[in-house]
Symmetry: C2
């Protein structure tokens, strides 16, 4: 979207939501009027929101917060630090969400002739109902299977000629390993997928290579945020519903395309629970190119970690969640690890313990290389142990001298 | 609905569905044309359908049967003798179902200001999604809670100010026993409720008397078939979607209002999976009176048993499922029982064994009376034993002489 039309969309949204007490007061505090949002500079004067702000609003205005639209008809929840946090929708919000999902599914090659099985949970959380709504909107024969129940799911896939599976990638893997056949398109969400090295290749090999593997990224508060298309070039941001910025998680500075940073989301159309410059806590890299599908704003590597667990080692920001993504590509490792950071005067030392087994020097070298690529600094030493004692992920002894 | 407008509706539906191969051939076999359905006499020339016919259609035209509309977008299932049976819907079918449910909820006193918790299962089966859709259509803040999880449900009811609960009556009872407060309307489905003597009274007492208790009856193949309104005069048939007949389960003869018989359903608007004169296997009594809510066709005692287990004793048709309904009103009894039927020459004898404990002669006499009222014949003797040996519900020794 060009900046001029984006700013018009932002102005219209700001005007709509400034009728709500919450934002009317905010705009006053910020010294801004929705009309002032005619350029990026002014927009960026809006301070970031976080999940804590949302949580506080629910506490101050129980039970659904001051951002609830009077026409709200659906209430989901997302896990929060103090229990479940409501996630709210008007009929129009649901229609926009369904339409956006339907467009993504169409761009992934799904048609109204497809029979779809949705194995996400439909209770309380958003995944099941919202994904189901998208497939129904596209006109597919949509089966609300729900999670778990591997054997029953396999029977349904087989007996009813299911061609599209919407599922966590790990459950899909289990179904394919147990002989699921006939799936043309996998829509995967809820877990890291395209960001895990080799994950797609393993799944594709199980299916004989002929499958479209679609990764998805969304928050309960901002669904559907980004989806892959059949060209599998990365997660395209649904930019008719969301404006996404990538910012430095420490300084809040907006980063240029291609730089890794925290995903910040602004709703462009949401009626109930609208958010402005909401810090997701998720790390990604944004790039702009025209995919053959026509979408242009893309997170090519998916979501690559969490900004909330950052630790600085040797001056470099390290996000432990990125370690997990690397470890998933080494099947001999269990995924448990410990980062040991120490210092002698001005020299810092960074060692890692991994649980599991590794096949010889070559794999250890590959692990070392992958780790450096992911973290931007190489551990001084990686030691692989059969069983890691329980304890914290990060042991930082720099201040204990 | 007057017969003239009902017949117009039936003709229109018959014309629409006669474009499907299944019904085109059926109409030919029956020697009928949709236009001939201009009076009840001709309509009743249509032979009954049963679940076996539906099952056979799925086997002959896998996987979704020959009654699937090309625009079908949702597939649920219902349990059948040979596994899950698909239950199919177009967008229009879903819209009609949602609208009909919304109307019923409105007639039960629910408004768009209500916060609704739906504890039915949303996966595979129809209850959760269809009830949820009705409440959203009415504009309520609807929470897809899902089943089980008593403590979490109690927390949600309390924390989010839930005013309407949609639930199995037994789960609602559990929630009220554990202290659920603030519910104005209970929409109960999935289990016998208004047909069980004293059930509503026990639930109402738990809530301090101030609650509207709404019973519901539906089949996956015909939802929503009948619902109570806030006047609690019985289950009103949703007669803009369904035409209901009550027939003698043995002879198929259509019975007059007030007579107990099998519920037979004809879809008036369904696009996908439309059924004509479908035998439900459920027993009820239909009455026509104008309820203060405006609805006129009512099953005042709800569903009172199953036509599938009928046994004739002393010339009277006895349905064991009616025994279960009676036993639920005696908390000391476990609900397990055995019917013993024997004969000496032309004299038949009918005895009953019940499991549990009964408080003295007075309760035994009350049990005897209730049983005669339900079955129309009195058992020669009722014996209450602490533990009933495993075995069949009916032991018929009349032919073993």
């Amino acid at each position: 979207m060009r900046e001029a039309s984006l700013m018009k969309r932002i102005q219209a949204q700001a005007e709509a939501i400034s009728r709500v007490t919450f934002y009317r007061e905010k705009f006053k505090t910020w010294g801004l009027n929705p009309k002032d949002l005619n350029g990026m500079e002014n927009f960026r004067r809006i301070p970031f929101m976080t999940l804590s702000d949302v949580q506080k609003d629910f506490e101050d205005h129980p039970p659904f917060g001051s951002l609830l639209h009077p026409d709200n008809i659906r209430v989901h929840f997302s896990p929060g630090p103090k229990g479940l946090i409501p996630v709210v929708f008007t009929q129009k919000d649901i229609r926009e969400m369904n339409r956006a999902n339907a467009t993504c599914f169409r761009l992934a090659g799904v048609t109204s002739n497809d029979v779809v099985a949705v194995t996400f949970n439909y209770h309380l959380f958003i995944a099941g109902l919202s994904i189901h709504g998208g497939f129904e909107t596209l006109g597919c024969k949509t089966i609300p299977v729900g999670p778990g129940e591997t054997d029953r799911t396999l029977e349904i896939l087989d007996r009813y000629g299911v061609t599209v599976l919407a599922s966590n990638p790990s459950f899909a893997m289990k179904l394919f390993e147990k002989g699921a056949r006939g799936i043309r398109v996998l829509f995967a969400g809820g877990e890291p997928f395209s960001s895990v090295e080799g994950y797609k290749e393993r799944l594709r090999a199980l299916c004989g290579g002929k499958i479209t593997l679609i990764d998805a990224y969304g928050l309960a508060q901002a669904a559907p945020l980004a989806r892959e298309c059949l060209h599998e070039t990365g997660l395209h941001i649904i930019d008719d519903l969301f404006f996404v910025e990538i910012v430095d998680p420490e300084t809040g500075e907006v980063l240029p395309d291609g730089a890794k940073g925290e995903v910040v989301v602004t709703h462009l159309k949401k009626e109930s629970g609208p958010l402005l410059r909401f810090r997701t806590g998720d790390l990604s890299i944004m790039e702009r190119f025209t995919c053959p599908c026509g979408r242009r704003t893309t997170l090519p590597k998916g979501v690559v970690g969490s900004a909330r667990e950052m630790v600085k080692i040797k001056g470099v920001k390290v996000y432990p969640s990125q370690v997990s993504l690397v470890l998933k590509a080494f099947p001999g490792l269990t995924g448990r690890y410990r980062m040991l950071i120490s210092s002698t005067g001005t020299t810092e030392r960074f060692d890692m313990l991994m649980e599991g087994e590794i096949q010889g020097e070559q794999d250890l070298a590959r692990l070392q290389t992958s780790m450096k690529k992911a973290l931007l600094i190489a551990p001084n030493q990686i030691e692989v142990v059969k069983q890691l004692e329980n304890g914290p992920t990060i042991v930082d002894q720099r201040h204990n001298l």
